[in-house]
């Protein structure tokens, strides 16, 4: 079918491996995503914290710099689990806003333009389509979360010298796993929202609402019933517990308050929900999102 021949001819060349075809979607999506100057500016901003953290780690091991600043940086900002936990928390929060920017149009645009039959009439399955769309978020948010996190970890291990890497290997796992869990949750949630809401602004608003409204509701439950179980409906609180758990910083007891029982003032211990409950809540949220997603991602919807 050459331009000059004007005749129909079949394709006889080589084909790409089937397993790699889902990566076609992020490759084409990035073109669109990086067309926005606002997005590029925000994406660049996301690397500010890793840069500052890298400088801190460097200064930590530079005796001359510490002497020059006349500060005991080692005590002020210790490079430990809390340091990396703070890094992951901050970057994952930025990852959420990044997802709010890029997630909503990923599927809604295809649904609005009836593009799914075109994708699914090719040797390309629904699962590959969803994984391909998820990869857009997975790749971009990975670039600002666990990838710089692990680079910082390696920088610290290099500068600290022998022994530190072996003793703190758990931190590397925690950085990777904590980020990955959050990225998967974000990806699944934003795609589910994108599949059900066609308008970008509404979908972005819905993503923010899903994050903040249950959190506020959970706090009301906590305040009314003097409990911490309200955290189970707050995505932010669930993730915070899981991150703390992964970094070995989780504590169930988060305070004591005074309460009345039988006319007497007593101390009530506030206990966070156990970690297994947080994992379960997260799994339920993800399961629901996947269900919603697979219900909508079809070549044609059969109207009953």
């Amino acid at each position: 079918m050459a331009v000059y021949e004007h005749g129909y001819k079949p394709y006889t060349g080589s084909l790409t491996p089937e397993w790699s075809r889902f990566l076609i979607l992020p490759r084409h999506a990035f073109r669109d995503v990086f067309r926005s100057k606002f997005f590029i500016a925000f994406f660049a901003l996301c690397f500010l914290y890793p840069l500052v953290a890298a400088i801190l780690i460097y200064l930590h091991h530079n005796v001359n710099a510490i002497a020059l600043m006349k500060l005991d940086l080692r005590e002020l900002v210790p490079i430990n689990a809390s340091f990396f936990h703070a890094f992951v928390t901050s970057q994952c929060s930025l990852g959420f806003f990044l997802t709010v920017l890029i997630g909503p149009p990923l599927i809604s645009r295809d649904l609005a333009n009836n593009a799914l039959p075109l994708y699914l009439s090719r040797p390309f399955t629904r699962k590959e389509y969803v994984v391909g769309k998820m990869s857009v978020i997975l790749i971009l948010v990975s670039l600002i979360t666990w990838i710089p996190g692990l680079l910082l970890f390696l920088l610290q291990a290099y500068l600290e010298g022998a022994g530190w890497l072996g003793q703190n290997l758990r931190l590397a796992g925690a950085i990777f796993l904590a980020s990955l869990v959050w990225i998967v949750v974000l990806a699944v949630m934003s795609l589910a929202v994108s599949a059900w809401l066609k308008w970008r602004v509404v979908a972005s608003g819905a993503l923010l609402a899903i994050f903040f409204i249950p959190s506020a509701f959970g706090e009301i439950v906590n305040a009314l019933f003097r409990t911490r179980l309200g955290h189970l409906i707050s995505l932010g609180a669930i993730m915070n517990s899981l991150w703390r758990g992964l970094f070995g910083l989780f504590q169930r007891q988060t305070g004591q308050i005074e309460g009345m029982r039988n006319g007497r003032i007593i101390e009530i211990t506030m206990l966070e929900p156990p970690l297994w409950a947080s994992w379960l809540a997260l799994a339920l949220i993800c399961g629901l999102c996947v269900l919603l997603l697979m219900r909508k991602v079809r070549a044609y919807e059969v109207v009953k």
Binding site: V3, G7, Y8, L15, E18, R21, P117, L118, K304
Partner: protein, 330 residues
């Protein structure tokens, strides 16, 4: 060689509604026309063949590959042009077609090259860098055709390809379909409720009615069989004329008072009819060779049903209940 499509008791049920029921048959044509009134199950059949809907009963095979077990392989052999507007917003046409080619398994460079080629082939070469949302309806249809053929499939399924097209664009679309058919490199399945489109492109037809096969025949053979099929419009003593041509061995039937259909036997020529007309002082106002019988087949398949089918270019063919001796049918 494997047939293009084999239907083996294929049935599809949505809820309690039987959309397709026990479809059986073998389709071998270079271009297969899928006909039927609205709601007959044409699009559902296409979707089932593509694996969009699971078959509830039976199965079907495309080039010998089973649709239930080899769906992925089948989709690599097939190019599909959907009926409704389908595209990816904010993309240039060449980017869109390239993406579709890559999803079919072509490497990026080859996909880009083929995208350019297929857009030139369908006549969108000059407009290929425009975004799809700026295209007219006709251009969108051509872009859909380009994405369906970009990976060089062995079977191209076209669902209502001429929907909403103006006459020149329709002619262009028909010409492209015929060119692809005549190249012999791909088989075509064309679903349409426009008999004229099917008549111009297809050599085999499958007529669906209420989810069942109402007719399945080879149009080429029908055309050959109907080479001597003539329609006359006359003024004068038509009955006497008819009896005279009957004595020549012609089978005939009146479609109304002034119109006569007849089949010329071997050895009888048109001039014989003029001779008889002159002898009986009958005027032959119009004489048409009825080249094919698609509308006949369709109407017969519908059993005179009240369909929304557009008439073909050939004259109407309501067959009267009289024959060579005045009692048969054609």
């Amino acid at each position: 060689m494997n047939p293009v499509i084999e239907l083996d008791g294929l049935g599809v049920v949505f809820g309690k509604r039987h959309i397709l029921q026990d479809l059986r048959g073998t389709l071998n044509g270079r271009a297969i026309g899928l006909l039927g009134p609205n709601g007959a199950g044409k699009t559902t059949l296409i979707h089932t063949l593509l694996g969009f809907h699971p078959a509830t009963h039976g199965t079907a095979r495309i080039f010998g590959e089973d649709i239930t077990t080899e769906a992925r392989r089948i989709r690599s052999l097939v190019g599909y042009m959907p009926e409704r507007d389908s595209f990816i917003a904010k993309m240039t046409c060449v980017h869109f077609v390239r993406l579709m080619a890559e999803l079919s398994g072509m490497p990026p460079d080859a996909a880009l090259e083929r995208a350019h080629e297929s857009l030139f082939y369908v006549g969108l070469g000059e407009a290929r860098y425009r975004t799809l949302d700026t295209y007219s309806l006709g251009m969108k249809q051509l872009a859909k055709l380009a994405q369906a053929i970009v990976h060089g499939p062995k079977l191209i399924i076209l669902d209502e390809p001429t929907n909403g097209l103006d006459p020149p664009t329709r002619l262009r679309m028909i010409r492209l379909i015929r060119e692809i058919r005549d190249s012999g490199e791909a088989r075509i399945m064309l679903s349409s409720h426009l008999l004229r489109d099917v008549e111009e492109c297809c050599d085999e037809i499958l007529v669906l009615k209420d989810g069942r096969i109402a007719a399945n025949c080879n149009l080429e053979e029908e055309r050959k069989a109907n080479r001597k099929f003539i329609e006359l419009e006359m003024r004068g003593d038509n009955r006497a004329f008819a009896e005279a041509v009957g004595r020549l061995g012609c089978e005939y039937a009146f479609t109304n008072e002034r119109r006569l259909k007849l089949v010329l036997p071997e050895g009888v020529e048109i001039r014989d009819l003029y001779k008889i007309a002159a002898e009986r002082e009958v005027q032959i106002r119009r004489l048409n060779y009825k080249r094919d019988s698609l509308e006949d087949i369709f109407l017969k398949a519908m059993e005179g049903g009240d369909t929304m089918v557009e008439a073909t270019a050939t004259p109407s063919a309501t067959v009267a209940a009289t024959g060579g001796n005045g009692n048969g049918s054609l």
